[in-house]
């Protein structure tokens, strides 16, 4: 199948695509929070297919900037829906390939004992702690955390004392190091540590925040790319994604 995209950089992408055709390694740009899961998926995928996969992790904002400037990625697994939608609008993706591949789950985690319990009582006394969140302007998990804090009526007095990370990995470091008492992180980050992340976490009910949809798109169409996207929707993949702490789209 011939590439069907029309874009400012389209012609060049075509050129590069033929040049790198022989390599046949799929380059997948992945949001940092999903990188570990993506690697697990890649391993599983490579065991079933002749295609090779290269995972390039990074922040979604940065990947976006790179893609519109000609980055040689085949597939983009974003951390949100905003960037994929923008890319679609601007004609940088293979039309019709945008879809949700995972839905993030927010937890409130503390590495110390006695701060977080499984019922979420902490929410009432949230303002007594040093809480780390992802920057709500950059990370969907940050937006979700803000909704939760606002719902508990703490946002206004806490807004300027929250410890902000660029992304949830940073929030994880902040909490893990003990520098912050607790933080809003992804479920995937606490359970991917083999369940032995210290302290305790509370899985925040979905009703307290807007679902964190993470979307995937094909940037440069190829048989391999289409094949991988198909795999992403397979039951095998969904199993890996959900054991990693995400919900999968029905």
């Amino acid at each position: 199948t011939a590439p069907v995209r029309v874009s400012a950089a389209g012609g060049q992408n075509e050129l590069r695509q033929t040049a790198s055709h022989q390599k046949a390694a799929l380059r997948i740009a992945v949001a940092s929070n999903f990188a570990l899961t993506a690697r697990a998926l890649a391993n599983d995928y490579e065991s079933q297919s002749a295609n090779r996969v290269v995972i390039i992790s990074g922040s979604t904002g940065k990947h976006y900037a790179q893609i519109i400037n000609g980055a040689p990625f085949d597939i983009f697994l974003a951390a949100d829906t905003l960037r994929p939608a923008l890319l679609e609008e601007e004609g940088f993706i293979d039309t019709g390939t945008r879809r949700t591949y995972a839905i993030g789950r927010l937890v409130l985690w503390s590495a110390k004992s006695g701060i977080v319990d499984e019922e979420g009582h902490i929410l009432e006394r949230l303002d007594q702690y040093r809480i780390a969140v992802a920057n709500e302007r950059l990370a969907p998990y940050g937006v979700a955390a803000r909704e939760v804090i606002s719902g508990a009526q703490h946002w206004n007095q806490m807004r300027d004392s929250l410890i902000r990370g660029e992304n949830i990995s940073q929030v994880y470091h902040f909490v893990a190091s003990g520098g912050a008492d607790a933080g809003f992180v992804a479920l995937s980050s606490v359970i991917n540590r083999g369940g032995d992340a210290p302290g305790a976490y509370w899985i925040i009910p979905q009703k307290l925040y807007t679902p964190i949809d993470q979307q995937a798109v094909i940037l440069r169409s190829s048989l391999a790319a289409i094949d991988f996207m198909a795999y992403l929707g397979s039951e095998d993949a969904k199993a890996i994604i959900s054991t990693s702490g995400y919900r999968v789209p029905q």
Binding site: R130, S177, G179, A180
Partner: protein
């Protein structure tokens, strides 16, 4: 520039000034010692000073975070003694920046100090100047231009610093959110126009500042070693 960005600018300047001043203060005796000593410890210290350069700043920041955290030693000691945690505070940022920008201050100073001949110090001694007095009245004026270089490198590097601050700062507005992170945030959140504006201002202000410093250096730069 939004109010938040202005706040970040202010924090940045405070941080850069504090870091530069501290670095000049501790860098002076250290660089002097390094330039004069024949101790076997010298290459060890020199290597240690240069080391922070090698690690990516975010990683360095990560380890600093582990160090400063009140959850374990040595951060816990500081916490127990002072009731104060250094992580996510301005003081913590200063410590991180000082470590990270250290080589940029030490190395030019050390090089310049090595260029001051023993002979010159001998003359000062025969004229009644104690070592400290001679350092102040002879060495300092002779290496003025190295101090300018050191201060510029240290200051600029702190302004542009990012990874360490990201890790141990926590972007608390007015306390630890610095300009470099603010710009980064704008880029990440696709607010390119704001990013351009702040970068442009930063560039222009820096350029004018640097230009003035270098012009001043040229004017008074007649005296060589």
């Amino acid at each position: 520039m939004s109010e938040a960005d202005l706040g970040a600018l202010f924090v940045t300047l405070r941080l850069a000034f504090a870091t530069t001043i501290i670095l000049l203060l501790i860098g002076t005796p250290l660089a002097w010692w390094l330039s004069r000593t024949r101790s076997r410890a010298k290459p060890v210290i020199e290597a240690l000073v240069a080391l922070p350069l090698i690690l990516p700043p975010t990683v360095l920041g990560f380890y600093l975070l582990l160090l400063l955290s009140p959850a374990r030693f040595p951060g816990s000691l500081i916490y127990d003694l002072t009731g104060y945690s250094l992580a996510f505070t301005f003081s913590g940022l200063v410590i991180g920046s000082v470590l990270y920008s250290m080589p940029f201050v030490i190395q030019p100073l050390q090089n310049a100090f090595s260029g001051v001949r023993q002979e010159t110090l001998e003359v000062a001694a025969t004229l009644g100047a104690s070592p400290v007095d001679a350092f102040r009245s002879v060495v300092l004026p002779m290496v003025r231009s190295a101090y300018i270089t050191a201060a510029i490198l240290g200051f600029a590097h702190t302004v542009g610093e990012f990874g360490v601050v990201l890790m141990i700062g926590g972007s608390i507005p007015g306390e630890t959110q610095v300009l470099s992170i603010a710009i980064y945030d704008h880029v990440e959140s696709l607010e390119y126009a704001q990013a351009h504006t702040i970068s442009g201002i930063l560039f222009l202000v820096s350029f004018i500042l640097l230009f003035l410093v270098y012009t001043g250096k040229r004017k008074s730069g007649m005296m060589r070693l």
